[in-house]
Symmetry: C3
Subunit: 225 residues, 3 copies
């Protein structure tokens, strides 16, 4: 039987792998070369955790102390490079693995932040950052507004899971069960979002204001050229 | 009567609030969902200070140690979400509050960097970063070239205020008056820039070179698609 | 005769200067004002090293402790501002200086990471980041996909040079010769890439998938407006 520690490490590398695949696929779609693909794999898989570690003062970050993260993202990148067609067809299952990765990252990130003495609210925030940071930087490197800022219930699912962990700690519950509850809550919310298209509201804009903004954006695009 | 410390804390949160409003308005304009709006509020309000704290080794950054920053930016985001029309009408006064926020951030950022032992020149630079960092990352997340790099006297106003603080310290003046002088200098420069359209020069380009660049940019835009 | 330390410092500032020129030229091309030009100079010249220092815990980063980096990048920015036409004509020699800067940064970055106790593989990665980080953030600030992710042999040259340094240390060789070998390897690879157009492969995409992606990208561009 494998120990709890090994199990958690496997989950962590599993999450890294799935996120890395998302980075590699995005890189192939934008015609980056093999080096660009590997960079996007590494970024998508590890930047959430690296950001958390920088912010809590855990340097060098875990992803730079242990080679297994780099190795995991390189494998994900190479697989995508050579078998893009096959991986692209797996979009539906990858979505579920991604939800699992998000859940794990949110919970584990929160626990690490609590360990480093952050207060509960901020620890939950950093758990969320662990889950969504990699995807945000992946999108920025490809010059796209981060999906997580405009799409369905993604960051909120991570935040809810993270909050559950924090609540458990505040109530003095043992860490195992509250981690599990947090992970399940995050995964469940992602499930509902994917299945039922749950999403968050956008602000109301009058037609006139919308036309104005349209004009401003077009002016800016023009200036950029 | 309130103490100096409370007064400074109020100024700090006030600056955070005004900057957060700018982030939230930009997010609404780009049709982000409510989560995206809150992220942009938080980023615009706190990333300048977070960047400074990371660079001087003050981890976890102040904005992650104390919940009042998060709370302030959440309130700014929600107000913008629900009362966008009203807030959008307040553009002119918001500009003045923004100038006040910039002045405070530049001065307070410089003082914190000096406290952490940075040399005077670099402390002034970090004061400026405290003032402009949030707006820069706000623009990057929305895939726009940061306004501060191409607009009127903004960063230079922050830098001048920061330099005044540093100069005061080098001359052995008490910190209070030189902070006040720095803040007033920054605010005054912003006032002139807004009122009289003061701006910085751009480099001269021959018509031929300009046409060449135009061509390159269009080629790149095409490649991106 | 100058000492080794002075020689290395000169190399370091030389690399910073060449990279800063690349930032300033890009800023002029995009019509940023003089402040924007100086920011891009500083970013292109120092952000690679600053990122490395943040990740290994060397705060404040070297580029913020010592004013000579800022001074170097300001000179590069002002020269570009006033003599853009002349500097723009020097593109071919600048390419060679850039290769020299990259080689030096990759080698020196790796050595600093090893000094701070990172394991060999990660030290090489951080050497590469030292070399390419500035250019990546330069491109991002101008809202362009980083060149290094899609162009000829650039990052790989830096990585090869960095790997040579690490290999030398693992074999117990004295640091001088292996640094020299690493630098020469990086420079040689850049030489071949520039002269013979060496580049890295991109993944194969079927025509159908390519058309699909094209459609998605156009939809996203539209949404952004």
């Amino acid at each position: 039987m494998i120990s709890l520690e090994v199990f958690l490490r496997l989950l962590d590398l599993g999450g890294t792998f799935v996120f890395a695949i998302s980075g590699a696929v995005a890189a192939v779609n934008r015609r980056l070369d093999i080096f660009g693909i590997l960079v996007l794999s590494f970024v998508a898989g590890t930047v959430g955790g690296i950001t958390r570690d920088l912010l809590i003062g855990a340097v060098p970050p875990a992803a730079l102390k242990n080679e297994s993260y780099l190795l995991t993202t390189v494998i994900a990148g190479l697989l995508t490079f050579f078998f893009y067609k096959g991986i692209d067809r797996l979009r539906a299952p990858v979505l579920w693995f991604d939800a699992a990765g998000l859940s794990f990252f949110a919970v584990a990130g929160t626990e690490k932040a609590l360990e480093f003495g952050l207060n509960p609210l901020m620890a939950a925030l950093l758990g969320m950052v662990t889950g969504i940071g990699g995807g945000m930087v992946r999108d920025l490197l490809l010059i796209e507004i981060p999906q997580v800022l405009r799409s369905d219930l993604y960051a909120v699912a991570a935040l809810a899971g993270a909050a559950m962990v924090v609540l458990g700690q505040m109530l003095g519950l043992p860490p195992g069960p509250s981690a599990l509850a947090g992970g399940l809550l995050c995964f469940g919310l992602r499930f509902m979002a994917i299945r039922h298209g749950w999403s968050l509201p956008v602000a109301h804009l009058s037609a006139r204001r919308r036309a104005e903004i349209q004009g401003e954006v077009e002016r800016k695009e023009k200036e950029r050229r």
